[in-house]
């Protein structure tokens, strides 16, 4: 191959790389960091992540559940011992007969009972309100499951395979919805939120409840929303609209 040809090929290669970079950069560099934290930056209590679930937009669709399973590599349940991080609870008002369909997952409480009762501190709440289980110090006592009013936690009853490296799980430990913390920390929405939007329903809004300009904060401020078991005073980060 002649030198001229080699130079031309290199030029085309660099040009393609530059063009690709210009195309991808806004997505990677400009939009994503708007929400994402740098890895060395700690979660901040200025942020309170939450979900608003509009049950008037939610029907028998299970896109959120399937997306959660795919994202976190939680197998579809076939037995009572199988973990479920998110479920659809079908509700029927005993007086009026009105029905609702509500996705229920960890409610990421401000005062989480699971954190209070955990003997080792494995159940913990991040500064930004996300409630998690530290799989390194969970001893599998299951007291958090007894204490959770929402039945949000599952115990891993047998060995697991095919794990998502972002979502470590393990036999003998307790687990629950992480609000897709691995995605949130990268500036992305939780998988259930994304799937609900992709299914055309937009029933689940994710955002910072502390930011008055966020959609979730505006909607919580504008419309009546409910908390499951509000009587317990736990101030969950997940709110429901329409129930």
């Amino acid at each position: 191959m002649s030198d001229v040809n080699r130079g031309r090929r290199q030029f085309i290669g660099w040009g393609a790389a530059a063009l690709g970079g210009l195309t991808l950069a806004p997505g990677v560099m400009l939009f994503a960091p708007a929400q994402a934290r740098a890895p060395e930056e700690a979660a901040s209590s200025r942020v309170r992540w939450g979900l608003l679930i509009d049950t008037t937009q939610c029907d028998g669709c299970t896109a959120c559940i399937e997306a959660c399973r795919r994202e976190n590599h939680v197998a579809a349940p076939s037995r009572k011992t199988d973990p479920q991080w998110i479920r659809k609870v079908e509700l029927k008002d005993l007086r009026s007969g009105k029905t609702h369909s509500a996705p229920v997952m960890c409610q990421h409480c401000e005062h989480p009972p699971c954190v209070d009762v955990c003997p080792t501190g494995a159940s913990f709440k991040r500064a930004d309100g996300i409630v998690l289980v530290d799989r390194h110090i969970c001893i599998g006592c299951r007291y958090c499951m007894m204490a959770c009013p929402y039945k949000a936690r599952s115990f891993v009853h047998e060995a697991l395979t095919d794990q998502n490296p972002d979502v470590p799980r393990g036999k003998g430990c307790v687990e629950s919805c992480t609000l897709c913390v691995h995605r949130v920390d990268r500036g992305r929405n939780p998988a259930c939120v994304e799937a609900c939007a992709a299914a055309g329903r937009n029933a689940i809004v994710f955002g910072d409840l502390n930011d008055p300009n966020s959609e979730i904060a505006k909607r919580v401020a504008t419309y009546a929303s409910t908390q499951i078991r509000a009587d317990l005073g736990l101030n969950p980060g997940v709110r429901y609209q329409g129930i």
Partner: protein, 398 residues
């Protein structure tokens, strides 16, 4: 009053070795079960994500509650000054430690990660009643151990009263902690009551005294030592009071719940419609474990018979295990109410009563806790001076 000598049992009979072998076998089967649960996960048990605490907790909590009650006899002697109980105090302390050890073994081996016991001992969340209990259990071993030393070593005699008082107060706090494990669960209708702590203390008095009586009578019979009726008559009276008090607390607990409308559903489940739980509550806990022992202990035609006392004690233990089953399993079987006033259904069994079928491994593990407790007692009474030489009615008198 002359001193009543304590002496090791001979422990060379075929019966004694047979007892050790039998208990050892149950212990080994329990350890094998724990290994199976560890190897395969809790999928080999009847527990699931609805019934998260199963048979091991029934046995473990029963043993831990009974442990503090087994210390009664020693407390009566050291704290309340009833010297006639003094010869039995070391056995009372030993039984308390043994029952606690058996219960804790079951509790630890039922953890999802029993290999992380060291984590439980080094990481504490002090808002957790479980974390407090780790201190309360370990403290109980230390304090009752010191109490036993004070009672059994002549250099420790002057500390007996102080150690006895410390052990008495500690056991009250310990059982408060055990009851509060459930009492603090505000979300569940079956629990969420401050009454659970004092109720567990009263249960412990009954269960501990019953197990003490069974152990004492069996040990004296096995070792061929005299046991007079006078002391047993006093213990019989105490047991009757404790059983009656237990029934009283149970009645107040449920009447209070019935008065609180939001707990009606759970009470209807437990008292009327709960199937096995209703049966265990009325027939076993209240009938066999409460009313029947009271008749056996108090009826003039029966209360002079030692057989009636042994039977009553055994029924109290059976009733106690039923009580734990009803409290722990029944409390979880009734569904959590997420949306009051709504009918709930889901693929995660919301709104429905949860069934539970205990598997062999978890039941074996639970039973092995009892075997380990009895094994510790059986070996200890041979190694050290726990059992009085004779407790005939005339013994100890001038």
């Amino acid at each position: 009053m002359s001193a009543i000598a304590l002496r090791e049992i001979e422990g060379r009979s075929a019966g004694y070795y047979g007892l050790l072998a039998g208990l050892g076998l149950i212990m080994l089967l329990g350890l094998g079960s724990a290994y199976t649960m560890e190897e395969h996960g809790h999928v080999v048990t009847g527990m699931d994500n609805q019934i998260v605490w199963g048979m091991p907790h029934v046995f473990a909590v029963f043993l831990i509650v009974a442990a503090s009650g087994a210390l009664n006899v020693a407390s009566i002697a050291s704290v309340f000054g009833k010297t006639e109980y003094k010869p039995l105090s070391p056995l009372s302390g030993l039984l308390a430690l043994a029952l606690l050890a058996g219960g804790l073994m079951v509790l630890v081996l039922d953890l999802g990660r029993p290999d992380r016991l060291v984590v439980a001992m080094t990481h504490y969340n002090f808002k957790s009643i479980f974390a407090w209990n780790v201190f309360l259990y370990n403290g109980f071993f230390v304090i009752v151990g010191a109490y036993l030393w004070a009672m059994m070593d002549y250099t420790g005699t002057r500390y007996v009263r102080a150690a006895g008082m410390a052990a008495f107060l500690w056991r009250l706090i310990l059982t408060t902690g055990t009851g509060s494990i459930f009492g603090f669960l505000a979300a569940r209708q079956a629990y969420d009551s401050a009454l659970l702590a004092p109720m567990f203390i009263v249960f412990s008095l009954a269960y501990g005294t019953a197990i003490f009586l069974l152990t004492l009578i069996a040990a004296c019979r096995g070792a061929g030592r005299e046991l007079g009726d006078a002391l047993l008559k006093r213990l019989r009276g105490l047991l009757a009071v404790f059983v009656a008090a237990s029934l009283y607390f149970v009645a107040v607990f449920h009447v209070t719940n019935l008065y609180i409308t939001q707990h009606d559903g759970f009470e209807r489940f437990l008292l009327l419609e709960g199937g096995v739980h209703t049966f265990l509550f009325w027939t076993v806990q209240v009938g066999i474990g409460g009313a029947a022992p009271l008749v056996l202990l108090l009826h003039p035609a029966l209360n002079a018979r030692r057989g009636a006392l042994v039977l009553a004690s055994a029924l109290v233990v059976i009733g106690g295990l039923a009580q734990m089953y009803v409290t722990i399993i029944g409390g979880q079987a009734y569904p959590l109410v997420l949306f009051p006033g709504m009918q709930e259904t889901s693929g995660f069994y919301d709104g429905q009563v949860h069934g539970y079928a205990p598997s062999l491994p978890e039941t074996m593990l639970g039973l092995s806790g009892i075997a380990v407790a009895l094994l510790i007692v059986a070996v200890s009474v041979k190694m050290l001076r726990f059992l009085p030489e004779r407790l005939a009615d005339t013994a100890g008198e001038h």
